[in-house]
């Protein structure tokens, strides 16, 4: 399977761009100013999943950044906080660009059953914020998402982020909800 991210003018429905993304795009892309953020999962022939995070430029649909997850994981849809007070991580102070957070999905090969028959997976959360000095024409070699600690949970949904962006609430398997409270960076396990 492949995906297309297709942008339309909301008034006259004229197509603005049409960008092909390998694999299945998860959830709704997040539009943030001149850029759109997309996560996708591609199931390879050996059942390994390649999870990717991309930045698409809204002026032309050009994919200006692609990052492949280092581990065999599947990404869940992205949640966003618009113009947060800062980035909720070490050295995130002063950055008020939209804060993106997403978890990892369960998929069959990665699931483990505990003694009670409950499947679990030691997933992480991932987060991203455009740098304050981001220049789409530059090399941007230091661009990349960040990952938190293993939290032993997976999700299917985008997290809910408060407007200040200093926390997130995620729904996990087995009916669990976990949240990061204000003052607790995304790089650490939730309280």
């Amino acid at each position: 399977m492949c995906s297309r991210v297709v942008a339309y003018d909301a008034t006259d429905l004229v197509q603005l761009y049409n960008t092909t993304i390998p694999g299945l795009v998860e959830g709704a892309p997040v539009i943030s100013g001149d850029y759109t953020f997309v996560v996708s999962n591609t199931i390879m022939s050996n059942n390994i999943i390649v999870a990717e995070f991309r930045i698409v430029r809204n002026t032309n649909g050009y994919v200006l950044f692609t990052e492949t997850a280092l581990d065999d994981v599947a990404y869940a849809p992205i949640g966003v906080s618009r113009s947060p007070t800062r980035g909720n991580y070490d050295r995130g102070g002063g950055n008020t660009n939209d804060m993106l957070v997403w978890g990892e999905k369960y998929y069959l090969n990665r699931g483990v059953e505990d003694a009670d028959g409950v499947k679990w997976f030691n997933g992480k959360i991932h987060f991203f914020q455009l740098p304050t000095d981001f220049d789409p024409e530059a090399n941007n070699t230091n661009l990349g998402s960040r990952s938190g600690n293993e939290i032993g949970k997976v999700t299917l949904s985008a997290p809910l982020l408060p407007s200040h962006g200093q926390g997130a609430i995620l729904s996990f398997q087995a009916g669990q909800v976990r949240g990061w409270s204000k003052g607790h960076y995304f790089g650490k396990s939730p309280t």
Binding site: M1, C2, S3, R4, V5, V6, A7, Y8, D9, A10, T11, D12, L13, L16, P22, L24, V25, E26, G27, A28, P29, V30, I31, G33, T36, T42, I43, M44, S45, N58, R82
Partner: protein, 109 residues
């Protein structure tokens, strides 16, 4: 007997409230068959620019005004499927639809 009187009073109060509620409230505004295909899981209805934007599972986009008139339609494709919500820009000037399709050139599914 006391219980019956309480019940009678409760029913009467409900009837009073119902009688004083304007008839417009809670009534069906309009109903319309929009698409030939399912509008399924993930096909959230978006209200923006004074219109309702609805994507069906074959990626057709239907734009309705407040009075259920279809003011615009984008034709989808029999070979694509859409099961994710559309994303609108903050200024509502454009939106993004995610389409899935089989790629015969890809050696995996």
């Amino acid at each position: 007997m006391v219980l019956f009187l309480h019940l009678l009073t409760f029913v009467a109060s409900i009837a009073m409230v119902a009688a004083t509620v304007p008839v417009e409230n809670g009534h069906l505004l309009w109903s319309r068959k929009v698409a030939a295909y399912d509008i399924g899981e993930g096909n959230e209805i978006i209200h923006s620019n004074g219109h309702f934007y609805i994507s069906d599972e074959r990626c057709n986009v239907h734009v309705l005004d407040q009075n259920d008139n279809e003011v615009a339609k984008l034709d989808g494709d029999e070979t694509t499927s859409c099961s994710s919500p559309m994303a609108f820009s903050l200024d509502s000037s454009f939106f993004i639809q995610t389409q899935h399709f089989l790629d015969s050139e890809t050696p995996f599914s």
